[in-house]
Each structure stands twice: as structure tokens, then as C-alpha cells.
């Protein structure tokens, strides 16, 4: 086989390989939707985060507005400090309510933001004061049993 023909096929092969990597990055991965745009950080203290994980979505009205960047345990308040990266395109009022919700019956957990009515907006590094913990099934059952017992 002549040299030029071989070069042609190898060139085609390498281009197809790089094309496959590009398809993986753009069509299969979330490279376009996720790294686009600047983010600013908000933190929130939760009594119980349930099964929330790093990279879980932060949604407002069902729209993904950011992702959970970090989860830590605070030794001062003995609760979980969750850091969220919110897309700079979305601004939220100071009295926004953050709660940990579950998508569907067995779905993943995410943070839902319900905006309040304050004129002042949250900025980078701010803390969300109003939070609502994840629902933990054992606690709910325990509370239910306790209520039943106190009724009798």
C-alpha cells in the first residue's frame, strides 16, 4: 500500500477518534450545561442532610440553577454546612428558603430554593438563614408512633 493512502486512512482514524472524544464530552457528558458561566457560592446550615451528595443539583421551581460543591460537619453548631455553587445568571433574595427534597419516590436528593420577597439579593459567600432538613423516614415513623402513644 502506498504511503499517501496509508496516511489518509490514519488521518481519518485519528480524526474519528478525536471526534468520538468530542461527542463523549459534548453530547454524553454535561460539559456544556455545567461549566458554562460563572458561579457564586452560598452556604446553608442543615440539621440533617439525609442522603444529599456532592454534585447534587440545586433547583428553583424545578430548574437546575446550581450544584452542591461541598458538605461539611460544623463543630460549632453541630450541623451540616452545605456549600452551593449557583449560576451567576440567577439571583435570589435574602430571605430565600432552602430545603432538601427528593425527586420521586426513590430518586436522588436535591436542594430546592424557594425565593422570598426581600429586596436585598444574596451575594457570593452569603449564608441562607432559612433551611429545612431532609425528611428521614425513621424520624417520621418515630414521631408518628410518639403521637399515637400520647393520644391513648
Amino acid at each position: 500500500m502506498s504511503r499517501t493512502v496509508m496516511d489518509f486512512w490514519v488521518g481519518l482514524f485519528v480524526m474519528a477518534g478525536i471526534g468520538a472524544l468530542l461527542i463523549l464530552g459534548l453530547k454524553v457528558g454535561n460539559l456544556t450545561s455545567y461549566n458554562a458561566g460563572e458561579v457564586y457560592n452560598l452556604t446553608g446550615n442543615f440539621e440533617n442532610i439525609g442522603g444529599l451528595k456532592i454534585r447534587a443539583p440545586v433547583k428553583s421551581a424545578g430548574v437546575v440553577v446550581g450544584r452542591v460543591l461541598d458538605i461539611r460537619f460544623s463543630l460549632e453548631t453541630y450541623d451540616a454546612v452545605v456549600t452551593m455553587g449557583i449560576n451567576s445568571a440567577y439571583q435570589f433574595p435574602k430571605d430565600t428558603f432552602a430545603s432538601i427534597l427528593t425527586s420521586g419516590l426513590l430518586g436522588e436528593q436535591y436542594i430546592g430554593l424557594s425565593p422570598g420577597g426581600d429586596d436585598v439579593m444574596l451575594t457570593d459567600g452569603d449564608k441562607i438563614m432559612k433551611t429545612n432538613s431532609a425528611m428521614v423516614l425513621e424520624e417520621m415513623i418515630g414521631r408518628f408512633l410518639f403521637d399515637k402513644a400520647s393520644e391513648n
Partner: protein
Amino acid sequence: MRNRIVASIQAVGHKTIDGVWRLGKASRFFVWVLLKSTTSFLRFGLVVREIYFVGVLSLIIILVSGLFVGMVLGLQGYETLQKYGSESAVGTLVALSLVRELGPVMAALLFASRAGSAITAEIGLMKATDQLAAMGMMAVDPIARVVAPRFWAGVISMPLLAAMFTVMGIFGGYLVTVVFIGVDNGSFWSQMQNNVDFRYDIVNGVIKSCFFGVAVTAIAVFEGFDAPPTAEGVSGATTRTVVTSSLVILGLDFVLTSFMFRGVS
């Protein structure tokens, strides 16, 4: 009786020493190839020629296997997921299992049996017919001229082949679940894009396939170069290439996975 016990212990010791000795020889050979590979980058035409034989000619088996693996994954994933009413997650299932595991591993296994065996047989036969010795006589270093270009061709081809295998597999899964069965097209792709992370899943998959490429071609060129110069020797070396590389791929995959995906869901 006593002699027999001593003999069996000796056999174990002999095998162990032999294995360690071969491993040392292979490592020295590997370092030697790396040191001599400057020539293959100065004369890149040699590598291009080998990429043709190693990469381009492996394309058909890689693409067809990828398509069918993806189709089977889609079918089986759909069967199980629809019991829980979450058949729209089939895109995530197909993409994640292909990107993280099946793409790099299956492509490397196919690559080892398609290209690795060919490299071993070619180098082994060159040695058996004294072509390597003849090169040495003409002051052409056989490692720089024959071994290093094949090694680098394999290392370059492997990640590209694995990426094509993965893309073809995802296309196969799409074909079966969306086109034939009728899963919603939008949720298939959006669920996939929500759950496949570029850094954690795709980049780690590519890193895996790079490791496999180095392992497979290093084993193939060593077995070829080390083969006894007889017809039997070459056939034995070819078999050993396929067996050893397959085992190394699977073992290496476990090690790499436990480093990459620990604690990251």
C-alpha cells in the same frame, strides 16, 4: 517420599524465580524501549505505518462489537428498569457503564486479541528468521526501528479505539431503546447528560484506556522480542500475549477503578 516433597517444593521455587526473573527482564525491556523511542518521534512515518496496521485495521471489530454491546445493554437495562417504571434512566445506565468500564475494558480486550497478538507474531517471526539480527549487523537498532514504533502506535491507538467503542455502544443503546422500543428521546439524552460527569466519568475512562494501551502493547512487544526463535516458540508467545494482557487488563481495571471511583457516586 522425601525426595518427592523436596522436588515439589523445588518446582514451586523454580516457577517463582522464573516468574520474577521474567518480570525483571520485561521491566528492563520496557525502560529500554522508552529510552530508544526518540527515533520513532523523529521519524514519525514509522509510527503512522504501524497505527495503520494496529489501529485502522482494528476499527471494524471494535465498532461492530461496540454497537452490539450497546444494543444488548440497552435491551437488558430496559427489561430491568421498566419493572420499576424508570425506563427513562436507561440512557444513564448505558452511558455510565460504557464510559466507565465496558468501553475501555472491552476495547482493550479486543485490541489485545486483534492487534497485540499480531504484534507479537510479527516481531517473533522477525526474530526467528534472523531479521532482527541482520538489522543489528547493519548497525540499525532493532528496538528503535521495530519495537518502539509498534509500542507507540498501540499507545496512541488504544484511547481512540476505546472512545469510538463507547460512542458506538451508546448509539447502539439509543437505537434499541429509543428507535425500536420507544423510550422518550428527550429523557434518554437529558438523563444521560445529567448523570455523566465530564471530569469524573469521561476523563477517567480515557485515562483507563491509556493505561490499558501501554500495558497491552508493552506485553505484546516484550513477548515477541522474547519469543524462542522457533515456530513453536512464536505460537506460544502469541498465546501468552493474549492471556497475559487479558488478565492484566482486568486486574489493572480493578485497581484503577478503586482509585478513581471511590466515594464518588
